[in-house]
């Protein structure tokens, strides 16, 4: 087993028509991640449905309703491993009514695969997917121009679609974008290099996923340690032990670092960073550790330990890009519970600044109603200051969710501007 193999999470948004399920099926099949009993089940269903050969799309079938309707409703997670990396696919539906699921899948992804049908070029759905990928700040975007077999593998088609894509994506914030011409159905440039497109000099999809640089995807500059819980064993050998347990949200922490506990503002030094096995000299995101300090300070869940020289912002009035996730529309001036890092308090949407039409990217200041799948820029007021960084700089401390205390439902996801 290769010890340095990393984990890459990617999302695929799209519908059956784009060939999304076929692409995932192809990745799983060609990377030998499909088991015989799964293959047999799919073969027999393919036959029942009258398909010739194996319908790769059936590998991603999920719940009863999805099977019956032939659609994806909810995010499904799939796994495969190659000798180079382990992969987690968040397979999400592409239709507009499932924007919330796309956002869910995108929230933890290193990369997004956006499928474009070579025959149709960039359509509204493509723009929507690209917008969501940029809104959620997915570090890498791979545009797969699919069904190249149906356009005779022509280079001009590929170039034309790249042109269309770049025309509108210049308005988006995307760090890394690549284009790959593929045929998911026939396997061109998915796992194996295509023999039909010698004009394409780039790598096939799987190789791209296996080699792209992802260690910089998490912010390693700003040390942020939200305290999840306090460990007080009160047993022999650890009578005075008081460890602050949490997962480092970003940055690197070292033994001896001068730190400030927020919001109290008390300062101290890191005495030790402990894991189950041993004490370590330094730890970095996303490690789960337990930290002890030189001084006895009152710290509890929801507090944040940061380096004294590099603090997050602290404010009660925030501008947030909010995606409404619930079928019950937002109620004006209602108090919601906000969850941000390990912190929880009440918040109110003071004002909807504008709503974005996610197909055209046009902003409207007129329509202020937040319904399911709407994306709005809002002013949020919290009861106490939140300790945050902008989402663009720090996914871990820039993201939040709203919960309706009347139903306990998660009703919105927010990215702090």
């Amino acid at each position: 087993m290769l010890d340095n193999n990393q984990l890459l999470r990617f999302t695929t948004a799209g519908s059956v028509d784009d060939g999304k399920s076929t692409l995932i099926g192809r990745l799983l099949y060609d990377s030998k991640s499909i088991f015989e009993d799964q293959l047999e089940a799919v073969e027999s269903t393919s036959k029942k449905k009258g398909h010739e050969g194996v319908d790769l799309a059936l590998f991603t079938d999920g719940l009863r309703d999805e099977r019956e309707q032939g659609i994806t409703i909810d995010v499904a997670y799939r796994y495969f491993t190659t000798p180079k990396r382990k992969f987690i696919i968040a397979d999400t539906p592409g239709h507009i009514q499932y924007t919330r699921n796309m956002i869910t899948g995108a929230s933890t992804a290193n990369a997004a695969i956006i499928l474009v049908d070579a025959r149709h070029g960039v359509i509204e759905q493509t723009k929507r997917h690209a917008f969501i990928a940029s809104l959620l700040q997915i570090p890498h975007i791979i545009v797969c121009i699919n069904k190249m077999d149906l356009v005779d593998y022509k280079e001009e088609v590929y170039n034309e679609i790249i042109g269309q894509f770049e025309e509108f994506s210049s308005k988006l914030l995307v760090k890394d974008i690549r284009f790959i011409p593929i045929s998911a159905l026939l396997g061109d440039n998915v796992v194996n290099r295509s023999e039909n497109m010698s004009w394409y000099q780039g790598a096939p999809l799987l190789h791209t996923l296996e080699t792209m640089h992802i260690s910089s995807d998490i912010n390693k500059v700003d040390a942020r340690f939200p305290v999840q819980t306090v460990l007080r064993p009160q047993r022999e050998g650890f009578i005075d032990y008081r460890g602050y347990a949490g997962r480092i949200a970003s940055g690197i922490l070292r033994k001896g670092d001068e730190i400030t506990v927020m919001p109290s503002g008390f300062t101290s030094k890191i005495k030790s960073i402990d894991t189950f096995e041993k004490e370590v000299d330094e730890a970095y995101a996303p490690m789960s550790v337990s930290i002890t300090l030189e001084d006895d300070i009152d710290i509890s869940r929801g507090d944040m330990i940061v380096r004294t020289k590099n603090k997050p912002e602290s404010a009660q009035d925030l501008e947030v890009m909010l995606c409404w996730l619930n079928n019950e529309s937002a109620k004006p001036r209602t108090k919601y519970i906000v969850r941000h890092t390990s912190n929880e308090q009440m918040a109110m949407v003071k004002e909807v600044i504008y709503k974005i039409d996610i197909n055209t990217l046009a902003r409207s200041g007129e329509d202020k109603e937040m319904n399911m799948n709407d994306i709005c820029k809002v002013k949020l007021r919290t009861t106490k200051p939140l300790l945050f960084d902008s989402y663009r700089e720090n996914r871990g401390t820039g993201s939040l969710i709203l919960i309706d205390p009347a139903t306990n439902q998660t009703v919105a996801a927010g990215m702090i501007v």
Binding site: L63, D74, T104, S107, Q228, A245, R247
Partner: protein
Amino acid sequence: MSKYYLNYLDELESEAIYVLREVWAQFDNPVILFSGGKDSIVVTHLARKAFHPAKIPFALMHVDTGHNFPETIKFRDDLIESLGVSLIVGSVQESIDEGRVAEEKGKNATRNALQITTLLDAIEGNKVDCAIGGGRRDEEKARAKERFFSHRDDFGQWDPKNQRPELWNLFNGKHFEGEHFRAFPISNWTEMDVWNYISRENIQIPSLYFAHERKVVWRNNSWIPYSEFLQLDEGEEVVTKKIRFRTLGDITITGGIESEADTVEMIAQEVSAMRQTERGNRTDDKRSETAMEDRKKQGYF
């Protein structure tokens, strides 16, 4: 210069520890559902790490079908003692005796579905508000849709079409009286990851996972262990084979595979070359295409 990224197993471990600590912080009375199988053993091991140097702050809950491998029960009791945690047992036999459920009839009868009632009774009776399980999304298509924090209504039911969205690492465990949650810290692990981790961490597992000689019966394409609970059909023959189990469940439905693998390393190697899913030997999943989804909706693990 040091590297500042985790390998995949460390990242999965860190994620699981985060989930376990989040459970502890968000719920009043969580338990670990402990079956004696490798997944719940790994979850228990991760819980030890998550709260070290304090001891695991949860009880372990075992739903006892009464059709156990004796090895599993011994393993469970030894582990409980070494960890110093308490054990809650929900007994399917008691549920039957009390008339809460009726035993299935016939040759393929199992107590698999009966566990649901016992489990939900144990959750309610012990005022458990979160049951931590070793379920993994790669196991089965209904499980692929599970959240880390998965809501159950006051009847213990799962509503897969109406799940709370789960974004970033922000988990919403809010619930009303009578409702509970299931939490799945190793959601993102595959069978292979679990074996690699057991090997790396040198985690003790029941001897049943290693190749051993056992009396078995060939049924539904796998070797079902011979036990007092098994009704033999005409033509079925009890033979002795060198087998091991890929999953551990009720003794009447857990099929073994012929194997020579008697170390964790050999098992990991065997699993990586395996062409059948691990639940392929579980007759409980073979009853219909949506067998797992149907059971999960009712409150199954």
